[in-house]
Amino acid sequence: MNEDLTGGFADSADRTSGEADRASRPADLSADAEFPTPEEEAALEVETQRIRQIIDSYAAETTPDPERAHLLEGWVLRVARAEMLRGPKLELVDESGLELTVLVGALKHRVRNIIDAHPQSRARSVSAAVSTPAEDSDADLCIEFSLGIDVALEGSAPQIAQEIRRSVGAAIAAELGVPVSRVDVLVGDLLPPRSEAGAEVHPSQNLMSEDGPTSSDTHAADCPQRGTATEAEDRSDEVAESTEPAAVVADITRRTPGIAGLSPSLRDRFEDFVRQRQTETTTVDLVYRGDRADLHLDCQLDGSRSATAIAREIAETVCGAVTKTLQSDESAHAQRRVSSTRVRMRITELGVEPHDRAMPVQSRADCACTRNDGKDD
């Protein structure tokens, strides 16, 4: 929908724009026939004030019930969050060669947080794209960002941009294991001054990265970060029962080569090993489904352990240990070899700082160890 589709109701004489479909709207045919004089308006103002108390009582009666308003707000926000989860993703490869899929919305959310955390900046727009790394880099892929920011009047825009550039690069590399090749920063507006001293910054000052000019734009051409309205309607029942947390969800899928398999005799060892991995901030459960052993991991991202670290631990350490166990156990079925191990992580927030532990954010990882022979144990 756009502004031209929102309609109106007045007759043609009243309209500020003349769409034909408005003819079906109820019209006040006397619209132009009776315009008040200032004296008439003043007299009616007195009349209105005479019944002001009654009007106020009516207003109080028709004020929305806060509980119902809260329910409506919750429903609308759940729909929006559910659509975000169906938004576009970036297919990445981290420094260790693991494939990684990251929701663009989650990535942008993380970067906005970094910009907003700077005392002299506020995010306007964030765009992220996969890029080819420099020739001397070991990485297969990089991410590049274009940021639109507002800066404080008293701040030094180049310095703020440089600090944000460093922070974004460091955070993304640490949390996702993917290097950031460039961060272009476009200053869009000035924030109200917070102190009397400060350098003047001109709006729309373009602060290019060292790599070259920016192509960032503060206005997106469309809304690509969201799922479609039709998808939302199709899933309305699901949304109504959704218990998704308020935070934007990152959906990270990793695939790594591996061999895993479970015979009944190995389950105890596997479970023992899994329990050993349990830490203060991580709980692990095993669920068996046919020939699959699903590893459910609930964890809090506290800044000391990144999404990359957790996913790698599951993909390599846990499943690697199972493989070793299989190889060393004579009772294991040697012919039962598994072609791959799939670890699926859903992380409710990236980069939660340690001091936020009072409000832990739960994450969940599912590790499916699947045999390739398809037989049940």
Binding site: T48, T62, A80, G105, R112, N113, D116, C223
Partner: protein, 211 residues
């Protein structure tokens, strides 16, 4: 390297301080926190507007829900970010007109009056228990009189043409200016003045015996 003082809530705090224009720009970039803040700012006034226009709380909720989801889905169509207030009011106004038109299509004679009187009955218990000045005073006669006065106002509003009622509600109860109403309803400012004048005149006539 920066130290993030409150990284988790940095965006939420920034949104609370941000003006509408910034919120819309961030919403157009897919920032759900900006959407949350806009919903928090506008939901209650929009609900009140729709309810006062339609005289039905459930229908008002449907209209506002559709409008807020339209805001989420079509934020990129907002060409003037600073004008979000009139943009969202326009969505709700047109949703209300669709409902009113559907009522007429179903040949509901005096439906507006019916809805408003129904609303009056259903609301009397709850809202007056929590609220009116007469009730707070604790004088049954005064409360009854106040109730009757409000009912008389509802009847007067129900008899107004839809467009006059809507402009009157926006002006008297929602606090919009002539200019904002004209942009919300896509009318000229002069036309808005005329509609409000006629609505006030009609109400003043019907409420002549009340004060």
């Amino acid at each position: 390297m920066l130290v993030y003082a409150d990284n988790m809530d940095a965006s939420a705090q920034a949104m609370e301080r941000a003006d509408d224009e910034t919120l819309v720009i961030r919403l157009q970039d897919g920032d759900i926190r900006a959407f949350e803040e806009l919903v928090a700012r506008y939901q209650v006034p929009l609900l009140a507007f729709a309810r006062r226009t339609l005289g039905d709380a459930a229908e008002a909720e449907d209209v506002v829900q559709d409008a807020l989801l339209s805001l989420w889905h079509n934020a990129c169509a907002i060409r003037e970010a600073a004008a979000i207030k009139t943009w969202i009011y326009r969505l709700v106004a047109n949703g209300c007109f669709d409902v009113l038109r559907q009522r007429r299509r179903h040949d509901t004679t005096a439906m507006d009056a019916h809805h408003l009187s129904e609303l009056s009955d259903s609301q009397s218990t709850t809202s007056r228990a929590s609220g009116s000045s007469a009730h707070r005073l604790g004088f049954p006669e005064q409360q009854a009189e106040s109730n009757a006065a409000v009912d008389a106002l509802k009847a007067a509003l129900a008899e107004l043409p839809d467009d006059q009622r809507m402009t009157w509600v926006l002006f008297e109860l929602q606090g919009l200016t002539y200019d904002e109403i004209s942009r919300s309803l896509e009318l000229t400012t002069a036309s808005v003045r005329g509609k409000i004048y006629r609505a006030r005149k009609s109400i003043a006539t019907k409420m002549a015996g009340w004060k």
